[in-house]
């Protein structure tokens, strides 16, 4: 019998996917594990792979259309095999209002003289529930319930994606996308007078997710903001010296790398800010993973630099560039944009002096980095011009109190104003 190919949940939060491109076509031979199509999820373009061997008999979904997770998008079977086009395909699953079709389904009343004459039993409607149901071990379910973790957001590592104990203990990292502030320039055109007064642009998958997640942050999470002004003169000198030292060796150090490193090191001293709010408990992390908001076409995503406190500036720089590149090409894997313990959003390059960022739950804090610009500041009796930077920390008040956040910011400020302190 032919096998259905379902739209699969390719990211923890994916509810529907847009079929970008079929890489196999009707009539092509396919092997289990081979890529059938590229699918745009709410986060990235991912590959949908075959789960059976055979021939791609029928494609149910055209390129460009969006299909809920669980729907049948294609059939794989033996060459020449007939498949039911019974509405199991695109787009909506229509859970077939149970048509008992008595004549067909009735449990064979008596030995039939000519069983072949009977109509073939109607194909049961595709059960989209199967592909969307979260598979989890009973223990994982219990732990998730007790710690308020949403199993749908957890990537299962067991057979068939089963969520097991280690997955829920490893933390649920409700996926990415915070910081309204860091939103990229919209990919729309400049405003130009035309004969139509407006243009309706459908929401892309990623924009839908951003909308959902930001509303889920600013509403329920009690934000407050702390701003401080930092003298970047020494950091700038240090950076110039380091880059001179590196010469043409490549891998220049950016301000962003220095800031990520300083934030990570300051968090090491202030674990109270390196924490997740978890409904009935607070998880203080002993590792420092910095989420870095990256603007991408029509959205943003926060790839994670893991153990940033332990990495050198060059390592951070190389990793940040690599992750940002893949983020822009939408090739990040889910584990690369989940699990941050604190985030950094930098709009300095847009000459934004000061802004506030939206926290990415369950993280408890994020710092918004403004531009580094020369400013007149008093120096004793004189006025001098110094390169200054303003940063603003958003704190989840359920985890971080004013003085706690302020103490962290003071450490961060000291580190940036005296970069040698990072060597301590």
């Amino acid at each position: 019998m032919a096998t259905k190919v379902h739209m699969e949940a390719l990211s923890p939060t994916m509810e529907e996917g847009r079929l970008v491109k079929w890489t196999k076509h009707e009539g092509d031979a396919v092997k289990s594990g081979e890529t059938l199509a590229e699918v745009e999820t709410d986060k990235a373009v991912m590959e949908l792979v075959a789960r059976a061997d055979g021939q791609l008999l029928k494609v149910m979904v055209q390129e460009g259309s969006t299909v809920p997770v669980g729907n049948v998008v294609a059939w794989i079977g033996k060459p020449g095999e007939k498949v039911d086009g019974d509405g199991a395909g695109a787009p909506a699953p229509t859970p077939a209002p149970a048509k008992p079709a008595a004549s067909e389904k009735a449990p064979a009343p008596a030995p039939k003289a000519t069983p072949q004459a009977a109509p073939p039993p109607s194909q049961a409607p595709a059960a989209p529930a199967d592909a969307t149901r979260v598979k989890a071990s009973p223990l994982a379910r219990r732990i998730a319930k007790e710690s308020g973790v949403d199993l749908k957001l957890v990537q299962g590592s067991g057979p068939g994606g089963r969520v097991v104990k280690r997955d829920v203990e490893g933390a649920p990292a409700p996926a990415t996308a915070p910081t309204a502030a860091a939103a990229a320039p919209r990919p729309t055109r400049d405003v130009r007078r035309t004969d139509v007064p407006y243009e309706d642009v459908p929401l892309t998958q990623i924009r839908k997710t951003i909308a959902k997640r930001l509303a889920a942050s600013l509403g329920p999470v009690p934000h407050f903001f702390l701003t401080t002004d930092i003298d970047m003169e020494r950091a700038a000198e240090a950076r110039e010296a380091l880059n001179k030292q590196l010469g043409d060796a490549g891998g220049k150090v950016s301000f962003n790398d220095i800031i990520i490193k300083a934030v990570a090191l300051a968090l090491v001293q202030h674990r109270a800010c390196n924490a997740w709010f978890q409904e009935d408990h607070i998880r203080y992390w002993n590792e420092v993973h910095i989420g870095m908001a990256v603007a991408i076409e029509d959205g943003l995503i926060t790839p994670v630099i893991r153990n940033a406190d332990l990495k050198s500036l060059r390592e951070i720089g190389a990793e940040a560039r690599e992750l940002a590149n893949r983020a822009r090409n939408r090739r990040l894997k889910p584990e690369e944009y989940t699990g941050a313990t604190f985030s950094v959003s930098n709009l300095g390059m847009f000459e934004i002096e000061h802004f506030t960022a939206v926290i990415n739950p369950p993280e408890a804090g994020i710092v918004a980095i403004g531009s580094i610009a020369p400013r007149a500041v008093p120096d004793g009796e004189r006025i001098v011009v110094r390169r200054r930077m303003r940063i603003t920390m958003s704190c989840d008040h359920r985890v971080i109190d004013g003085a706690t956040g302020a103490a962290f910011l003071r450490t961060l400020k000291q580190m940036l104003e005296n970069p040698l302190a990072m060597l301590l």
């Binding site: 071990s137 009973p138 223990l139 089963r162 104990k165």
Partner: protein, 331 residues
């Protein structure tokens, strides 16, 4: 405390119980003059005489029936089968007479009898002589079934079996008779129905009994090298079975592999899986795995026999499955 073989621990239990209670008698093929096919009854004929140590004809159904009658008449017979493979002939007496007597007499007639002998496979005895019958026997209400794996447990459980007023099946093993272990002197009684943790661990529970204890312990050693901490729970009694010990361990480790000598279908492991899934469902992180004999008559060929038996390697593989240590197969 002395270091004894399993065989001598059983011998000590028999001797001490026969000294303690003149109603205890031993009967079976070759138990007297020959001192037991496996020398478990060594010296007993000499010490207690032919009225209490009785050589029987090769007629399992007959002497099992005599034992049942003797128990009804007030003795406490210990009936030895040369192996449980031969005891199949006596099943009518065991199941229909011994196991039912208390019930069918409305509680008037006790049945203080012990049926004992080696169970399961030894080496290259082929399919008719290499069978593990515990799931058949533990199936029967009215019987108690014990399967000691160590010399100390062999002594302590045989003593409990002889003192019990119900029919008790004692499953020994040809491959166990020579193993040595510390055995407490004198009054050492192991209660029927109590399991024992033979090795503590935190990642997975290996439930075993009888000859699968050494298998599980060896697997636990190999697992330790892979940084997996396995707890080894020796059931010791199969009916009644120590449900609370099983559940307590599984609740601690969240994963279980059950190891038994018999076949998979309707085996002891199936019963264990039932207990665990029913009462520790929310503590399970993976489906319980079973390691059993292959579902075939035991082959005579040495390599095939080895391949058919439960082994440490099979246990390690099952543990890796419940711990999700190997790449997941696609659904």
């Amino acid at each position: 405390m002395a270091t004894l073989t399993y065989r001598d621990a059983l011998n000590q239990a028999l001797r001490e119980e026969m000294q303690r209670d003149p109603n205890v008698v031993l009967m079976g093929e070759e138990v007297g003059v020959y001192q037991g096919a496996y020398k478990v009854s060594r010296g007993l004929l000499e010490e207690f005489g032919p009225k209490r140590v009785v050589d029987t004809p090769i007629a399992e159904l007959g002497f099992a029936g005599i034992g049942v009658g003797a128990a009804m008449g007030g003795l406490r017979p210990v009936v030895e089968f040369m192996t449980w493979n031969f005891a199949l002939l006596a099943l009518d007496q065991i199941v229909n007479s011994a196991a039912k007597m208390l019930y069918m007499s409305g509680g008037q007639i006790n049945m203080p009898i012990v049926f004992r002998g080696p169970n399961g496979a030894a080496l290259q005895l082929s399919s008719q002589h290499s069978q593990a019958w515990e799931s058949w026997l533990a199936h029967i209400p009215g019987l108690k079934v014990v399967a000691p794996a160590t010399p100390a447990d062999a002594k302590g459980l045989l003593k409990s079996a002889i003192r019990d007023n119900n029919p008790v099946i004692v499953l020994e093993g040809e491959m166990l008779y020579n193993i040595k272990g510390d055995v407490p002197d004198g009054e050492h009684v192991v209660p029927i129905g109590k399991a024992e943790i033979k090795r503590e661990g935190s990642d997975v529970t290996l439930v075993c009994h009888s000859k699968t204890l050494p298998v599980a312990l060896k697997a636990a050693d190999q697992l330790a090298e892979q940084n997996v901490s396995a707890e080894v729970l020796d059931l010791r009694s199969l009916r009644p079975i120590d449900e609370s010990a099983i559940l307590e361990s599984v609740r601690k480790t969240n994963r279980a592999v059950v190891v038994e000598e018999g076949w998979p279908h309707a085996g002891i492991g199936a019963q264990l899986v039932d207990i665990i899934q029913r009462d520790a469902f929310d503590d399970l992180d993976a489906p319980v795995q079973r390691v059993t004999q292959a579902d075939v008559p035991m082959p005579y060929n040495k390599l095939l026999e080895r391949a058919a038996k439960a082994s440490p390697e099979k246990v390690v593989a099952a543990v890796r499955r419940v711990l999700y240590l190997d790449p997941s197969p696609q659904p």
